[in-house]
Symmetry: C2
Subunit: 140 residues, 2 copies
DNA sequence: CTATTACCCTACAAAGTTTATAGACTTTAT
DNA sequence: ATAAAGTCTATAAACTTTGTAGGGTAATAG
């Protein structure tokens, strides 16, 4: 299941996408609009900034803004960043790979192959859906 | 990610599938063979029993045994039982459905639709793979 | 230059979940 | 009866998620 952090990230991103013309937007504005704890949201936006998704401006008139186009920010990127691995097993994860403790050979592990398939089908969707696809719906 | 509980369940089920001819099998035998805490495994097997997957016999000569054929036990069933929802959002879950707090209409929620798609693609795989498909590989 | 604004950072606490342990109880075969 | 085996309840340890608090730091307006 997606964590609240991840859902908040999508809420914030779609809000920023819907208000791009306003330039930099205050954390507190997003927090109020989407009813998210402001301090909690801060750390989420910071993660998104470090990942190159958002930019920020300090000082009076500052705030956060999209640094990429909404249609360039895939759901996969956001989920990996805030939620962690998309795969169901570490040995199948592209971005968080870890060897299975006692698995001698991934090529002959049936579970490995099945989980690869699940991962690929999931990625096929979330790599091709973007923040732009979230804009326009009333809610997430 | 799949929890240890879920992985243990798959290990235990494939062990039982591979040793069906031996009849009832001791918890401790499975625990030793798969290196799982015996007490922890107990509760897992009990869950599987309550779900109608396993049967058990108490007393001397007792143990656990498959009550369904390995090819009838889908991965989806085991995952739902031990890991929880397969869907990424409660409002998209078939077995653990919950309404989104503030979503007025699922039919117009883009996120809802995308997550439905992810769920369906995942289910298409794990509803059609069974414990039988795990048997034969060295590991899970 | 200086006060304000708002991002940035660290620490920690509360809550929940997962994993694991302990021990008593019940049932069954011999 | 007795030993063997599953069942049940309670609880603790470890970890993750979520949220709070407070101050530090950089940028901007005037």
């Amino acid at each position: 299941m997606l964590s609240k952090k991840t859902k908040y990230a999508f809420h914030a991103l779609s809000y920023l996408a819907e208000n791009q013309e306003k330039g930099a937007i205050l954390i507190q504005e997003i927090a109020a609009a989407k009813k998210i704890s402001q301090k909690f949201l801060e750390s989420i936006l910071l993660d998104l900034k470090k990942a190159g998704v958002l930019g920020s401006k300090k000082g009076k008139g500052g705030g956060y803004y999209l640094i990429k186009k909404p249609e360039e920010i895939t759901l996969a990127k956001v989920i990996r960043l805030l939620n962690g691995p998309i795969a169901w097993l570490p040995c199948v994860s592209l971005n968080y790979y870890e060897k299975c403790g006692d698995c001698p050979d991934e090529a002959t592990c049936n579970m490995h192959l099945i989980m690869c398939e699940v991962r690929d089908q999931t990625l096929r969707i979330v790599e091709n859906k973007t923040v732009q696809d979230l804009v326009g719906s009333k809610q997430l």
